[in-house]
Symmetry: C2
Subunit: 213 residues, 2 copies
DNA sequence: GTCTATATTTTGATAGAC
DNA sequence: GTCTATCAAAATATAGAC
């Protein structure tokens, strides 16, 4: 299949290599800066300066500071997606979901920037006036729902004890992840975040796992 | 015992009622505002306006924005002190320390402002350039040390299983507290933070408590 | 102890040339 | 697509009167 020449031309022009490179560079620097200083602590002038572009040059790609924030959040979303899904895109259920979380924590312990971005923006976005407030509420709600479903499957499955309280274990598990991130960042990486989470998972299995004999 | 008149006079003047009231009002409003918007998101003009005083009037009591932040952190420190100590000021040890934490979580679940202040400033202060960076590092280090000592006492005491890993359990317990706070704030109080922490404590005791027969 | 006035930067954003 | 020039508002802080 081939496009008529005028459409081909349009496509080429819209995604010019130089343009995308500039956009990507701005986005990467905004990500880094907002991870460290938050949305409120980051100015578009700082981002522009580090990206080696003028402030107006930046605003050509992202018309406002909020647009830049949205792009940063979207980028993080992409980086993390499919973590709790299998190769076919189906959600992981039962203990597989918890093992995937342990895998995610291990992955995160090698990218402080991504962890920092979440911890910083998450706390900042607790404020109802923050542009990412809705995002963070959805993030927590999604996390809880996903884990609750995974646990309910584990009960039905016969691999988790029927007395396990799904919502409580979901809350505690997500709390451990977020809380360990704070300690890990504050300790400048000296805390073994992945190891501690795996220890938690081990105790969880001792308490609630049902193993076939 | 009585002071010579000139000293008495000095003491009276230094802590004039009107002055302390203004200071206290400014402090309360700064606390509230920084809890919501963080240090970077709060301007001294906003604090002054809400306190019904001019910007310069505020700066008479707190010479700079940083001084205001330090006062806010000190104030929180006072509110929370003696939580892990008994009436005589001695540290609580063994399971008593964990029970005191559960009590603290229950108390916190009735003062969102205090919780919000910690969660917001904690994340903001992860940045090495933040004026409260040293404070937050000390906060985490203190928390870990206190809990590790409490657990080691419990082992020596014979009330905790000798295989309990003190540092890991300390990290997980503090992580649960901080992580639950984020979820609780994001859910606008609909999550039962105290109940979930007590559930965690129950599992912890099932796993590690040694009960006399 | 509180005020008005002011200085100096920095902020987010726009207009318009190239 | 990137720039310079510019704007209006907001920021922290100081000086000095009362």
């Amino acid at each position: 299949m081939s496009f008529p020449r005028q459409y081909r031309r349009t496509l080429t022009e819209r995604s010019s290599v130089a343009g995308d490179e500039a956009r990507a560079k701005i986005l990467a620097i905004a990500f880094e800066l907002m991870a460290e200083k938050g949305y409120r602590g980051t100015s578009i002038a700082q981002v522009a300066a580090r990206a080696g572009i003028s402030q107006s040059g930046l605003l050509h790609h992202f018309p406002s500071k909020q647009d830049l924030l949205i792009a940063v959040i979207d980028y993080r979303q992409q980086v993390d997606s499919r973590t709790l899904t299998d190769a076919a895109g189906h959600p992981l259920l039962g203990w597989a979901a918890f093992d995937a979380l342990a895998e995610l924590v291990r992955k995160n312990s090698e990218r402080p920037q991504v962890v920092r971005m979440f911890s910083t923006l998450c706390a900042e976005a607790l404020d109802a006036d923050h542009p990412a407030h809705t995002w963070i509420q959805g993030h927590f709600a999604d996390g809880e729902r996903t884990l609750v479903e995974a646990i309910e499957f584990g009960i039905a499955d016969g691999t988790m004890h029927p007395d396990i309280p799904p919502a409580t274990v979901a809350h505690l598990t997500l709390a451990i992840m977020d809380g360990l991130q704070l300690q890990w960042l504050a300790s400048e990486g000296s805390l073994d975040m992945a190891g501690e989470f795996e220890a938690y998972l081990e105790y969880l299995k001792i308490t609630w796992e049902i193993v076939e004999e």
